[in-house]
């Protein structure tokens, strides 16, 4: 525990501090790029990218071992990883464009094949009985314990660069993710933008291999934006929150791993990130589950209030206990079940609003079908002013014949 807090406060030695900072930058950058991978609906591609790194790592290790006498050189291994991941992405792309297979089928095929090749190569390396191969397992699940200072520094710098690139390209990536056709018609090279997005993702996967491991690296790009999506409806804010969640989750995870060296760093980071996700899912006021439950509760009260007031307007008795108590608490009904003056004036307003809504639904059945909040909010808050004006003009003759408007109220 003491060690964990020491790592958390950057006082557990220079090396540990560097690893933690590197992990935080990695988390921030992957959270930021992850936003656009998520919005582009390509989270599965990222899974293919990460699994396709394995044969590259293993091959690079073998080649480096044969030619340089030692396979344990991080830049060489990462280069191999990037190369085979790139080939994997191109393979997915090729299958998608040149056959009638869908992207998910292409991903499933490429992902499992590349991973299988990697596993075979790893077994071959193990049978070669050479020193330094123990480090390779770290690429599967992530290990920061034996990380060199230079390695941590490389990761930190590369992650910072990727993060910066994402922020600078935020506008174009948003456009690509929202409306590809419009982007292309406005003169943007959509294919090239897509490639840039994947290249940045590939960069994150490769530099995160050592820290988080290839099996879990993708969680670093998916969980932060998914958690962040609960909190906001704006892209720049989403990027900031996802980067923040990614950074703090990776930082805490790396610090935990520093205090318990035999635990896999990747697993710890993902578990911390997952806790952020669960908290976001539950308590976010924008899209969280609790907020949704509260909203539903309020929604139910609005329905009861409105129906109660409409009953008052039509001189009908209010029978449901919940409706009665809501009306009483709002001061619309007195203790003996009689409408108050306030209740009667409010009832007239609601009745008029309801008539406008009924008319709107009569005139535009298709439109109103897709509309939220009809008959719940005052019509002027939901529909544009010119639409309401048309309805009001249309309604005037109906007002003259109240028995006709009763027809509309019945549905």
């Amino acid at each position: 525990m003491e060690q964990f807090f020491a790592a958390l406060t950057l006082s557990a030695g220079y090396n540990t501090a560097l690893v933690c900072i590197g992990a935080a930058l990695l988390g921030a950058a992957s959270g930021a790029i992850g936003v656009f991978v998520l919005l582009r609906k390509r989270t599965l591609v990222s899974d293919a990218v990460s699994h396709a790194t394995l044969p590259g790592v293993a091959l690079a290790f073998i080649i480096a071992q044969v030619y340089f006498g030692s396979g344990r050189s991080l830049p060489v291994l990462l280069f191999g990883a990037a190369l085979s991941a790139g080939i994997g992405v191109l393979a997915v792309d090729w299958i998608k464009t040149h056959t009638r297979l869908t992207e998910d089928a292409a991903i499933g095929t490429v992902l499992s094949t590349f991973f299988a090749v990697g596993m075979v190569l790893l077994t071959i390396i193990q049978s070669m009985s050479i020193s330094g191969q123990a480090g390779l397992e770290g690429f599967l699940l992530g290990a920061t314990s034996g990380m060199l200072k230079s390695e941590a520094l490389t990761i930190a710098v590369a992650a910072a660069l990727v993060g910066l690139a994402v922020v600078l390209r935020m506008k174009e990536f948003s456009l690509l993710c929202f409306d590809e056709g419009f982007a292309a018609a406005s003169g943007y090279n959509v294919r090239w933008l897509d490639r840039t997005l994947l290249l940045l993702l590939l960069g994150i996967v490769v530099i995160g291999l050592k820290t988080v491991g290839l099996v879990l690296i993708i969680a670093l790009a998916i969980i932060p934006p998914v958690a962040a999506r609960f909190w906001t409806d704006r892209v720049p804010v989403l990027v900031a929150i996802a980067a923040g969640i990614g950074a703090s989750g990776s930082y805490i995870g790396a610090a935990l791993s520093a205090s318990a060296p035999n635990m896999p760093t990747g697993g710890l980071i993902v578990l911390v990130l997952f806790s952020f996700f669960v908290v976001s899912l539950l308590v976010s006021p924008v899209r969280g589950v609790l907020a949704a439950a509260l909203k539903h509760y309020r929604f139910q009260r609005i329905v009861h209030l409105r129906q109660g007031l409409l009953a008052i307007a039509h001189n009908e008795p209010v029978l449901e206990p919940l409706t009665r108590s809501i009306l009483r608490r709002g001061g619309f009904m007195s203790g003996d079940g009689q409408p108050t003056v306030k209740g009667q004036s409010e009832a007239r307003l609601i009745e008029r609003d309801q008539k406008l809504w009924n008319l709107y639904r009569e005139m535009h059945p298709e439109e109103s079908h897709a509309l939220a909040d009809w008959s719940l909010k005052p019509i002027g808050e939901v529909l544009p002013a010119d639409t309401v004006k048309v309805l009001e003009q249309e309604l005037s003759p109906h007002v003259v014949h109240p028995e006709e408007s009763g027809k509309g109220g019945a549905n």
């Binding site: 919005l39 506008k171 292309a184 018609a185 406005s186 409806d233 535009h364 439109e367 544009p384």
Partner: protein
């Protein structure tokens, strides 16, 4: 008047009429365009030139390739043959002079953006790489929202807007592009009457400002009220020209075949007073 054999290229070869029209004056010209999905031709050798400063409806039955025509002309989907010229330039070099309004269903409206964010996307080309929208851009986007009657919804999340409102936001985004040619894919699909009115007003204003507007349109009954010209498609180019001379029962019969009842055709031609 302009049947298949003369196609839409009459404008290009109209020298015998005494008017010498230069290619730089033709806002939007498509020549010999063929598009196929998996060896099934959707459009076959379509040639057409849009009349400058006019409001033209692209009409034809379902599957006639109306949307495909716009997409392929813009280079959004691969084509087997054909080229598009915008004021004499190849379209790839002239995309800045074109504003495209895709079908509303082409995007996921749960995207994290507000109405004004979407309109601002129409300005990204002017803002440029690595820069952020300024107050001036925001004001411009706001003005565009105002011209479609959506200024009160600027900060509403787009998923919370009704279909008609979403369509108006799309239109505002195209207005923000300040283009010379507007290509719109079914802007009237599933919108309320007020939105339809608002869109028609915007289209008329565009034409009054000298813009060239092409609209994929579904409702034959409103063609006469809204448009001055039509392009009739049915996989191939059927006819194009002014509504009075081209929107005839004979041409419609050619495009729609048996899919239009004769009574419907009569109704449409009666409306013309022909």
């Amino acid at each position: 008047m302009h049947d298949r054999s003369s196609s839409g290229l009459h404008l290009l070869h109209d020298t015998d009429a005494g008017k010498n029209i230069r290619p730089e004056d033709l806002p939007f010209t498509v020549q010999g365009m063929t598009v196929a999905y998996h060896h099934k031709p959707v459009l076959w050798g379509v040639s057409y030139s849009a009349p400058k400063g006019c409001l033209t409806a692209i009409i034809g039955p379902n599957g006639a390739g109306k949307s495909t025509f716009l997409k392929a002309a813009l280079g959004l989907i691969p084509k087997l043959s054909g080229e598009t010229k915008v004021f004499g330039e190849p379209i790839e070099k002239a995309l800045k002079r074109i504003a495209y309004v895709p079908q509303r269903s082409a995007v996921d409206w749960d995207f994290p953006a507000t109405a004004i964010d979407v309109v601002m996307m129409g300005l990204y080309g002017q803002i440029g790489w690595f820069r952020w929208p300024s107050r001036k851009h925001r004001q411009k986007a706001m003005d565009c929202l105002k011209s479609v009657g959506m200024q009160d919804f600027a900060n509403r999340q787009i998923g919370q807007l009704s279909g008609g409102q979403q369509q108006r936001v799309f239109l505002a985004r195209a207005l923000a592009q300040d283009s010379e040619v507007y290509l719109m894919d079914e802007p009237f699909a599933g919108v309320d009457a007020a939105t339809e009115k608002a869109i028609v007003a915007v289209l008329r204003q565009l034409v009054a400002d000298g813009k060239t507007v092409l609209v994929v349109h579904h409702d034959l009954e409103t063609v006469r009220d809204y448009y001055s010209h039509i392009l009739l498609l049915n996989g191939q180019h059927v006819a194009d020209g002014p509504v009075e001379t081209t929107f005839t029962p004979e041409n419609l019969q050619k495009a729609y075949g048996g899919r239009l009842a004769s009574t419907q055709l009569d109704g449409l031609s009666e409306a013309s007073g022909a």
